[in-house]
Every structure is written in C-alpha cells, then in structure tokens.
C-alpha cells in the first residue's frame, strides 16, 4: 500500500497541472454563467463546445501521460527492475485516475447539481455517476497507453481504433438489431468494451506482452459474446414476420397503420406491432392519450382491442417483469428494424413516427386475424412512482427538481377546445442518455388524472457534458377517473386549480402496478377498415 501511495504521489507531483486543468475545465463547464436554464447566443455555444473538447483532450492526455510515466510496453522502464509489483503500479495508476481526474469531475457534478437545487442525495448520486463515467473513460485511454510507449504511438493507435470502429459500425448496428438483448440494451456494448479493456489492461500490466494482451482481450471479448448469445438464445425473440392481418387504416388526416407480428418467446404469446406512418406529414394533428411504444417498458403498457362494430374483443396483456428488450421497436432501432422486416421506409424522423408493440396470447391474436377495428390502449402506472418523481404546483414559475433533472414551468395556457398547454423548461444534469419522459396532471381532490399527449421537445440548447437543457411542450386533452373506463374531454380552470403536474422519468422508475390507470383510451385518428 505504501508503494502504491508513493507512486501515486510521485505521479501527482508531476501531473498536477493536467489534473488542475481538468478540474478547472470541469468547474468552468459546470458553472458557466449562462448555462443551464437558457444558454443563448452563438458565442456561448462555441465556448461550450471548445471547452468541452479541451476537457476531453486534457483528460485523455493526463491518462496517457500517467501510464507512460512508467511504461508497461517497454523493457527499458525503470520500475520493472525496482521492488514495485505490476499490481501495485496498476493500483497507483488507477488511484491517480480516480483521485486526480474522476473524483474532481464528480465533485463538480455534485456542486452543479446542488446549484440547481437537486438536493444532497440526488446530487451525491449525480457526482458518483459522473465520477464513474469519467473513470471508465480515462481507464480506456489508460489501456491504450499501456500498449504504447509514447504519446505519438498512442495517438496513432487511437486514430487506428477510431477508424476500425467507424468501419465496423455497420456490423455493430446489425448486431444491435439482430443481436442479443443485452447487446442492444443501453450500455451493453459499452460494458462489454470496458470489460475487455480492463482484462487487457490487467494482463498487460501483469505480463507485459502486448500481442498476448491483445489476444487475451480478444478471447475475453469472444467468451463474453458467446455467453451473452447463449443466454439470449433462451430469452430473445425470434425474427419478426409480416402477416396478412390488417388493422391498418387510412383516414383523412393521413395516418396509415399496418400490423407486423412475430412469435413471442413465451409459449402462447405473439407480439403485435403497429407501424404508424403519416401520409401527410405536413398536416397539423394532435395526439391525445398516453404515448405508445416510446413507453413500452416492462408491464407498462396495456391495450384493448375492439371490433369495427364497437364490440369489445379483449383487453391487452400487461405482463409484469418482461425485459424491456421486448420493446424492440424502441425509437433508436426503428429504421434498422423497418429495413429488416421490409417495411417501406420513408423519412424515419418525420413521416414515420414509431412502431408500437403490444403482446397478447396467441389464441387472442388468432381471433383478430382478418378483423380490423379500433385500437385502444390502457396505460398503467404506479402511484408511488409518480409521487417519488416529484411534482410541480401548476403555476407559472414553479420549478421542481428530481434526480438528474430540473424542471421549470414556463407557461400554462388553456386551449380553446378545453385542453391545456404547458411549456416546461427541463435541464438535464449529467445527461448520460436520453430519458423517456411522461407528464401527468393529477387532481387528487376529484380523483382524476390527465396524461400528456405526444411529447414534443423543443429548443435544445448547446450543452456540456454536465448540463443540457430543452423545452417540452405538453398538451392535456382528456381526464380519466381512476379505475374508471370513462374519460371526459376538457380541463377547466376549476379542475386545474387543484391539479399538480407530475413528472415521470422512465429511466429511473419503470411504470407498472395498478393504482393509476387510464382505461378505455381510444386513438381517434386510427379507425375503420383499410
């Protein structure tokens, strides 16, 4: 331990300027005066982008330099003939990466979170999360440095890897579509890459054999992939197929739906996908009711299906504990999926909205063959989840904080048709990934709930690695009594007086359970036979 500490202090003695520069950049980016609620102007954006790029460069330089201080790939290094073991050296380097680079970044994130009134617990989590992210990032650079002996060779290796990654991207995307669910899941590939990286790093320190280290890393990667695929073979879904079932419709507003099916891996289930495609993308339209596939988390969505006559067929299934991989038509994978199943693909960003996924018993699906009708959805969400995620008093200037996110109402306005329009400015602190969001208006006194319609995120601002903000425009049209099949249009001011706006971040808590349900929802734009 003493040797580890001495080596760490020795490295700190040399590289403290780089660590200080990284800290200063972290602080600058975190406390940039105009960042957060309202970055404005091209100058700010340029400053942010440059500072972010320089911060990344400084972190990479520091990680590479601290490893090259005691080179692993060279037989001329002094440490090899000193009483300093490879594991001690590795521990000292990781200590430097943690204490000098990752921890200050995490502290900055915590400070920024506190500045945005996210509260000590959430801010601590933010700091930890940010610190871990930075540590993993610099560990990757350290791994690169461990197999090179100079900044130049490390730079060449980095360029080569970047090129190789770019060339392999189509295959990775293919694996992302057809690969096992863990590979598709957020962070799955990153976790695999990091595991392989750490194995290579440890082996290189222990043995100092570059070729073998790379071989061991490749072997570790292949074993991890094989295990992942073997596990996935049991749990993954089979290939989807287009069926002759048509539930698609075309209405004057320009929506077309078509059903895709695939066998469900559980015995008697099938998966039904409804592709919703705009034929007239320029038309103004409103979506009401809960969003569909964008929120198909485990157990989080349900449906019911009605015949054209209006007769009830059955409610959909709300399986609990399903892997969210079943929501395979998640937004990011849609274009690839559409290609895979041969769906005509128009502009995926504007003309084709999403592919909604439901699942039901096979026997019920058979009953649907040849039928067309109105698709309805029922959304279920846990009341406790809602309360935990924080809520805003429904008045302009109200703001609320939740883990990783600060929300502030900018305006509330009633629509002429009785609906409600709310504009919310959201600042993501430590924006690791895009989180699906859902808003609800809850009136406890009347025991009624209104769910937001299709969410529109507007006005994305340039952000840093710590902060990114945008405006959400939310519309509310209908309200449901809890536990009732009935819904009513319109949200009058007296109803709103007792309402609170609830934010649900699906990345932090998946919806499920029973308390708040909105049954009998009808998508009015989709109906009638094709």
């Amino acid at each position: 331990m003493a040797a580890v500490l001495r080596t760490f202090l020795k490295d700190l003695g040399r590289f403290w300027p780089l660590a200080a520069a990284a800290f200063a950049l972290n602080a600058f980016l975190g406390f940039f005066p105009d960042l957060g609620i309202g970055v404005s102007g091209p100058t700010d954006a340029v400053v942010l982008e440059v500072a972010t790029a320089v911060r990344l460069l400084v972190l990479a330089l520091a990680a590479v330099a601290v490893v090259h201080e005691d080179p692993v790939s060279s037989d001329r290094s002094a440490w090899i003939t000193r009483p300093l073991g490879p594991w001690q050296l590795l521990a000292a380097k990781l200590l430097f990466l943690t204490v000098a680079l990752a921890a200050p970044s995490g502290l900055c994130a915590t400070a920024v979170s506190l500045r945005y009134h996210l509260g000590p617990p959430a801010s601590a989590v933010m700091g930890l999360q940010n610190g871990l992210d930075v540590l993993l990032e610099v560990a990757a650079y350290a791994c690169l440095a461990s197999v090179t002996s100079s900044l130049l060779t490390a730079g060449i290796a980095f360029a080569g890897l970047t090129l190789a990654f770019a060339l392999a991207q189509p295959y990775l995307q293919l694996a992302g579509v057809f690969g096992p669910s863990w590979f598709q899941a957020t962070g799955g590939r990153e976790a695999l890459a990091m595991a392989v990286t750490l194995v290579a790093l440890a082996y290189q320190y222990a043995r100092r054999r570059l070729a073998r280290a790379m071989g061991v890393a490749a072997l570790a990667g292949m074993i991890a992939m094989a295990v992942g695929w073997a596990v996935s073979a049991v749990t993954d879904r089979p290939e989807p197929t287009l069926t002759d079932v048509t539930l698609g419709v075309e209405d004057p507003k320009g929506f077309v739906g078509a059903i895709l099916t695939r066998p469900f891996p559980l015995a008697d289930r099938v998966v039904v996908g409804l592709q919703v495609r705009e034929t007239k993308p320029d038309d103004e339209h409103d979506w009401v009711g809960p969003p569909l596939s964008r929120f198909t988390a485990a157990g989080g969505i349900n449906y019911s299906m009605s015949a054209p006559s209006g007769g009830w067929i059955r409610d959909g299934i709300a399986e609990t504990g399903l892997d969210d991989a079943y929501s395979y038509t998640a937004w990011r994978n849609y274009p690839e999926f559409a290609r895979a199943v041969g769906v005509p693909l128009r502009s995926p960003d504007s003309a084709v909205h999403n592919l909604d996924v439901l699942e039901m018993p096979a026997e019920d699906f058979e009953r649907l063959r040849g039928l067309s009708g109105t698709l309805t959805t029922r959304f279920k969400i846990n009341r406790e989840t809602i309360l935990d995620q924080g809520s805003l008093p429904l008045q302009v200037e109200a703001s609320s904080a939740m883990p990783g996110r600060l929300a502030r109402i900018e305006s509330v306005s009633l629509n002429p048709n009785g609906g409600l329009q709310v504009v919310v400015h959201v600042t993501d602190v430590v924006a690791r990934r895009y989180n699906y969001r859902l808003w609800a208006l809850v009136n406890d006194r009347r025991n009624e709930v209104s769910l937001s319609g299709f969410l529109l995120s507007l006005n994305y601002s340039p952000g840093s690695y710590l902060l990114r903000d945008h405006t959400d425009q939310i519309s509310f049209q209908r309200r449901w009594t809890r536990g009732s099949q009935e819904s009513n249009a319109g949200l009058d001011p007296s109803w709103l007086k007792d309402a609170r706006l609830v934010f649900i971040d699906l990345a932090y808590a998946s919806p499920g359970s029973v308390d708040l349900s909105v049954p009998g929802f009808v998508m009015p734009k989709v109906g009638g036979a094709r």
């Binding site: 001495r6 201080e69 003939t81 009483p83």
Partner: protein, 304 residues
C-alpha cells in the same frame, strides 16, 4: 553457488536468434564482464536474466530464483543500471532518491552520503538537465545504497568521456569490499575499462557464448607467439595446431599467431617442434587482444 545460471537460453526476434542456446554461469562474488561486439547479444542476455524480456526457450536462475518468476522481492536484492534505461527525467536527484529510498528496507544512508560526495552531483537540478555521465552516476547512486547482492550494469561506459569513466570505475572500486555488491555483471564493448574491473570474463559472438572463465585463467592461456627463423623460408605448417589462431607470416622468416592453450614450457617445446631451428617468443596478451582473437575466429564452444 552461482549468482546466475543460464541453460540453453534462446531468444528469437522474428527468426533472428539474438541469443542462441546460451549456457552461462556467473559465480557469486565475481565481477563478471560480458564482452561482445555490437549486436552480439549482450543486452538481450542481460534483459533475459532480469526478466525484462521473455526467453523463447531455456531457463535462467538468478540468486536461486527462476527469472520468469522474479517478483518485486527479487529486486530488493538486484540492482540494474543500463545506458538506455528510462529514468524519471523530470525529477531532481533528491526527488529520485526520496522516491526510491523507501522501497528498500536496507537502504544505507551513510553509503548514499559517501557516494554523493564522491560523485559530486547537483541535488536540485532535474535529471534531464544533467550530462549523460552525471545521469549515469545518478542512476548508480539510486542503486548502490541498498547494497544489492547482484548488480547488473549494461553498457555503463557507453558515450562517457574518459574522465567520467575513470570516476565511475574508481567509484565502484573505491567503495571497498564491504560496500561493493557481492556480484557484478557488466556488459560492455569498452574492453580497456572492464579489464580494470572484472575478475571473470564471458565473450559473446552472434548470440552464442564463446568463452567464460576467470580473467587470470583467460589471460594465462592466451599468448601471442612470434617464431623467428634463421633465414628466409620459415614456413607455416600445413596443419597448424588446434590451439593456434590468426596464423600469419609477418616476414619471410617470421610467423605470428595466437595460442589459446598456452601452458608454458611444454607449449613452447611443442611449437619449436613445429618450427625446427627457430626461436619462439611467447608474449602475454591484453584482454582487448584476447577479445579480438576470439571475435575474428569465434568458434562457438557452448558452455564453460
């Protein structure tokens, strides 16, 4: 007991054998000079011995421990200084010693002070601002105070001016028996310098060991022979003796050669029998001359 034992040690770089089936022993307590021309395999051999490189085949034991299993404990007993070693150049001498000192429980502060006085190094100038000779002395200073049982020096004199070489050697010699490491292995192609230092000599050529033996024995068995005849026509025999090297006619009545198994009077009688009626003169040879005699012929002999 031997400090170092190499058995059938081979290291290939691609297909090129930098070290080829090397069998070498370095006796404990010796100052062993490993000689060879550039590219003979000296540095590779030392790196294999210290586990800086992995052997393609063969085994090495250092202070009783297999080299591939040498861990940090082994380097509490082994010191290594090499011309191409990467030092922490940004450090001052004081910083370097402060960093290394705690690693060694047996670090001798008194010896460190004496060596600092002897080497006269600036304590607060970064190593990269020191001359090459000073840097080598600094490296030496970071090794000797922990009193290694084995000291390995790889080309320590390379690129040093004669004055620094003298200081370096005198420094090593003047430490005295009690302070000197028990075994020293020094590789060099600066033969004149190591002749003053070494009591054992090993010669490498093309990755193979040509010879390894105590300096007195080596110098004792090598003689430069001059055969002078009474008149012109002193001929080189059709079949020179097996111990004769570099046989040449220096003049019509003079033949020169090197005898590598010289044993005094019996050898002289044997030579005179080959050159009847001549006078034979045997002269001692310097280590440099012996080395050159080996290099010019260099028949691989394997282990000694």
């Amino acid at each position: 007991m031997n400090a170092i034992e190499c058995e059938h040690l081979t290291r290939l770089f691609g297909r090129f054998p930098a070290v080829n089936d090397l069998n070498l022993t370095v006796p404990t307590g010796s100052i062993f000079a490993l000689l060879g021309a550039n590219g003979a395999g000296k540095t590779t051999t030392l790196k294999l011995i210290l586990n800086l490189l992995h052997p393609t085949s063969g085994d090495v034991r250092v202070l009783g421990c297999g080299s591939t299993k040498m861990g940090k404990e082994a380097f509490l007993r082994i010191g290594y200084v090499a011309e191409d070693q990467v030092l922490h150049d940004w450090m001052t001498l004081d910083q370097m010693l402060d960093y290394y000192r705690p690693f060694y429980p047996r670090w001798d502060r008194d010896l460190e002070r004496r060596l600092r006085t002897m080497f006269d190094l600036p304590p607060n100038r970064s190593l990269k601002k020191l001359s090459r000779g000073m840097r080598m002395k600094g490296a030496f200073l970071s090794i000797l105070p922990f009193r290694p049982e084995l000291l390995v020096l790889d080309e320590p004199f390379s690129g040093l001016d004669p004055q620094v070489r003298d200081e370096f050697i005198e420094g090593l010699l003047e430490i005295g028996d009690t302070d000197r490491p028990s075994t020293v292995v020094v590789s060099s192609h600066d033969i004149t310098e190591v002749e003053r230092l070494a009591d054992w000599v090993g010669i490498l050529a093309e990755g193979r060991l040509v010879t390894a033996e105590p300096m007195p024995a080596l110098q004792g068995r090598f003689r430069r022979i001059e055969v002078v005849g009474p008149g012109a026509g002193t001929r080189i025999p059709r079949e020179p003796g097996p111990a004769w090297r570099q046989v040449e006619a220096a003049a019509p009545n003079v033949v020169h050669f090197v005898h590598d198994r010289f044993a005094g009077e019996p050898t002289e009688r044997e030579i005179q029998a080959a050159f009847p009626g001549t006078s034979v003169k045997a002269s001692p040879m310097t280590l440099r001359e012996i080395f050159l005699a080996h290099i010019r012929r260099a028949p691989p002999t394997g282990a000694h």
